[in-house]
Amino acid sequence: MPSDPLPSAIQSALAPHFDAFRSAVAGTSEQIRSSLAELDSDVGSRLAREEAGLGGFADGCIDVERFAALATGQSKLTAGAKPTLEAAQKVLMEINQAGAELNQLRFDGGDLLQEVHAALASVGRAFGAARVAELARTGSFRKKEHGGLLKAYPYPQWNARERRLAPPLVIHCSGKDLHAGALSLFLDGDAKLVLVVDGVCPPALLARLISPGIFVVQGDESAPLEAMLAWKGPGIAALVHDQAARFVHDPEGGASIAERLRLDFLPEAPKPRALGGLSAGQQLEDLQHLTALAGSAAAPAPASIPANGAASAPATPVDKLAAFLLARAHLDQE
């Protein structure tokens, strides 16, 4: 996935997350190496390993040979696991050798959703390899069922910890190709996406992704990427041209949109031309959406429903709908 060099500010923001991922990959690789060594070893080195596993406190206190005789019966590692472990090891080494290119996608048009899926599935091979190694170590690897994990490990199958550990995906793209709303599918768990947008793009590109719980940043190179990357939840950032809107939606800012959304720059209405699969009208709607949210931000936070269940009169269509649904479900009463 070749790409242009990232600006240094972005590189330094991403570095700790990428390093943590690589460190985990290296750690898993080391565990597999240890298992392979165990398979290749003779009795003497097995004892040495058992001795190490007991730690320095046991030195001189525990007869390692006797202890190993008790512990060995619990291991399910067999010679049959070797090819699988080697295959998993190969995948992890490939991923580590890929360096900073691993988490960068150059999108030149086409199906953005599909390409992001493919890029994440490729990164996910690291997790797939870890799972395969674990299955092999415990004697429960079945090639037909689990073999595919080494080729691609699709994002929907990642567990919470894997989503937290995965490095943010950097997507280089042209503004005219980008329909960012499609990316909402990937914004769950702790997933993080960073869009590096070339050229003109819809002015409120990420406005429709502003939701409670999602950290959204749109701005230039000085945008607060670190805060988005540190957020323990999904986040997306877009680095855009200087005529696009600049804003930060920080879910930790508070309970109300007024506390969460900070609008730094609001451009004029877009020129009447389609961009990123959005018509000029849709772009304008997005901009109006952002303006409306920013207007809400200036207004006081909506009052919460009183404890006695007597909700105040709904002010907005959304509040009216919520009140209607609550009433239908009898959830507005004790």
């Binding site: 565990q31 240890s34 320095g56 007869d63 008790l70 415990t138």
Partner: protein
């Protein structure tokens, strides 16, 4: 009080610009203050810098029993003792040679405990002498009168006055000024001291660091202009990388190195700082610290996590251990691996929260209703606090059992340098087996010889079962028939015998045959072995034995004891003395290890124990050894 320097063993004296520089193999100093004045921060910084410069070091915190005791009271004395030397230091030594006291009353507490050498140098803040309050002035006069019964060299220091030139509140400045004085007196590398200060205040604003450095430099400057002595404790450059930490940090690091993934605890002195340390870094390694609502919930969560396939541990102290009793029984009954760290303090009940004791041994080994076999380990150094967690986890998982790690308040807060551990992935290599369970496998499929059984995890296919604290069979189904109960008791107990079959006899320090063998466990090891070494230099026929496995005990103890005319334990727990009223050989209650050894070996093991709430001094142990041998080894 004299004005001569203290007598030292094999000192060399040199002169330097108006100061004498006495080169010594080791020295003991204390920093004493009211609670909240930062004497411990000063002393621990000094200890850490000394260790980093290549001195052997051992620090012991002097902590008042109350969180915020009244100021200017002997009982409220807070501080730290630091023993530094050219060679490795394993204990806090005997009497203090130099003390910095922030007021006369805290100094009195150490004087009354006979903690100060007769010729100690004392640097005492002179502020109370001219205090506005006449009662304070009177107390000062009386304190100096009482102190004059010894040959101390007392030097008045305008500590408060000098600090007020830099800070508004001298309570927040005296400790760094004192650190400056100590740094000058002991020829410490000031750049290292500043690095240590920067580390200590890393979470504070830069101005805080800068203010503390000004105080440090003021202390150095004052000492240079006003003191006529310096001590050089030569440093050595170790061949290998060293680290400096206290025992609680070492336990936390050891837990991480061992791959333990969950620490569930409830705050209790002196164990809490294990979780403080872990909460700063555990989650970055995939671990989790859970502070439960109480001690019972804490072990319940740890036990549940272990049952679910994680490797969990809990950390507590005596009163918490008492509350965990029922869950410990459940862990033993369900054969769920669990590591329990007990950082012992003075007891019984809430006892002496901040003071050291070794009084939980029998509670750890026997303290649950019903037969409740457990493994009990005792680290004896701060380095062992790190490594024992790895062994504890390995045993707990291999034997599906509870492993108790018995640390204490002395190890918990004391700092000592030791060889930097080289992390080994094999410490973490035991992964829970999550493969599908073959049909017909029982959750407690005991090996009839060893009592061991493979561990099932509820989440693995076919691995779900109902654990129960009621008597049960292989299938974890409730059974109350006599044969089943007898057999399952045997199998749970057998595991300890099987573990013991893998243990080697302990190694004696000193002659294989002698008049007296002194046996200890835990943090007293350094003091005992130092006393033995000095006794041997005096020609005494004595040896030492430290036990790290207390349940099961290492094999061959009876045979070892046969080689000595007399065997005695030295412990920090209570025992009766035969010269006390009503006490005789039949009703005498003995030290806890002595009880255990007598019951196990049928040897007439004697004991000497103290519950002063402080570590034992090697000199006191040596006095006991001399007395014991002079009396022909009789109690």
């Amino acid at each position: 009080m004299s004005s001569t320097p203290p007598e030292q063993a094999a000192p060399t004296l040199s002169q330097e610009a108006g100061h004498s520089v006495l080169t010594l193999p080791e020295h003991i100093l204390e920093v004493l203050s009211d609670s909240g004045e930062g004497a411990q921060k000063c002393g621990q910084s000094f200890g850490a810098v000394s260790a980093k410069m290549g001195n052997g070091a051992w620090t012991v915190e002097i902590i008042p029993a109350e969180i915020q005791p009244p100021p200017r009271t002997p009982d409220g004395a807070s501080g730290v003792r630091i023993r530094i030397g050219t060679q490795k230091i394993t204990n806090w030594g005997n009497r203090t040679k130099l003390a910095i006291a922030f007021n006369d009353q805290v100094l009195l507490s150490r004087h009354r405990l006979n903690a100060l050498a007769d010729d100690a140098i004392i640097l005492l803040d002179q502020a109370p002498e001219n205090h506005d309050n006449p009662q304070v002035r009177q107390e000062w006069i009386e304190a100096l009168e009482e102190l004059s019964s010894r040959n101390y060299r007392l030097i008045k220091v305008p500590l408060e006055e000098e600090c007020l030139k830099i800070v508004d509140n001298p309570r927040q400045g005296k400790n760094m000024f004192a650190l400056g004085m100590l740094s000058w007196v002991y020829l410490r590398d000031l750049e290292r001291v500043k690095e240590q200060i920067a580390h200590q205040f890393r979470h504070k604003a830069k101005a805080v660091y800068e203010r503390n450095v000004r105080l440090l430099e003021a202390g150095v400057s004052w000492a240079e202009q006003n003191l006529d002595f310096r001590f050089d404790i030569p440093t050595t450059t170790p061949d290998e990388d060293m680290v400096v930490m206290n025992g609680n940090t070492a336990l936390g690091l050891g837990a991480m190195a061992a791959g333990l993934e969950m620490c569930s605890m409830y705050p209790i002195t002196p164990a809490t700082s294990v979780s403080h340390f872990l909460s700063e870094s555990f989650d970055r390694l995939g671990g989790m610290v859970h502070q439960a609502e109480d001690e019972i919930a804490a072990i319940g969560v740890a036990l549940g996590a272990s049952f679910a396939g994680k490797v969990a541990f809990t950390v507590t102290s005596g009163p918490g251990l008492a509350l965990k009793t029922e869950f410990i029984g459940l862990a033993v009954m369900t054969e769920t691996p669990l590591v329990i760290v007990d950082v012992q303090r003075g007891g019984p009940s809430t006892g002496l929260p901040t003071k050291v004791e070794q009084s939980d041994l029998l509670a750890a080994v026997f303290g649950q209703p019903g037969d409740c076999p457990k493994v009990v380990l005792a680290p004896s150094t701060i380095e062992e606090c790190f490594h024992c967690m790895i062994t504890a986890r390995r045993i707990a998982e291999t034997f599906r059992c509870v492993v108790m790690v018995m640390s204490d308040a002395n190890l918990a807060t004391g700092q000592q340098p030791f060889k930097r551990p080289t992390l080994d992935p094999r410490w973490q290599s035991v992964q829970p087996d999550l493969s599908e369970v073959p049909v017909g496998t029982e959750p407690l499929q005991w090996d009839p010889e060893t009592g061991l059984s493979p561990r099932l995890i509820p989440g693995q296919p076919g691995g779900m079962f109902t654990a129960t604290g009621l008597a049960h069979n292989e299938g974890s189904h409730i059974r109350s028939d006599p044969e089943n109960n007898q057999r399952t008791m045997e199998l749970r107990s057998r595991k300890l015998a099987v573990l013991q079959s893998t243990l080697k006899p302990p190694v004696v320090v000193g002659p294989e045959h002698a008049d007296l063998l002194v046996v200890g466990w835990g943090s007293t090891r350094g003091a005992i072995e130092e006393a033995i070494e000095k006794g041997q230099q005096e020609g005494l026929s004595v040896a030492a034995l430290n036990l790290t496995f207390l349940s099961p005990l290492q094999p061959g103890l009876g045979e070892i004891f046969e080689n000595y005319k007399k065997v005695m334990t030295v412990e920090i727990n209570y025992s009766d003395e035969l010269d006390q009223p009503y006490i005789n050989a039949e009703n005498r209650r003995r030290g806890q290890l002595a009880w255990l050894l007598r019951a196990t070996t049928l040897v007439d093991v004697d004991c000497w124990t103290r519950v002063f709430g402080q570590p034992l001094c090697p000199g006191d142990i040596l006095d006991v050894i001399r007395g014991k041998l002079a009396a022909g080894g009789q109690s």
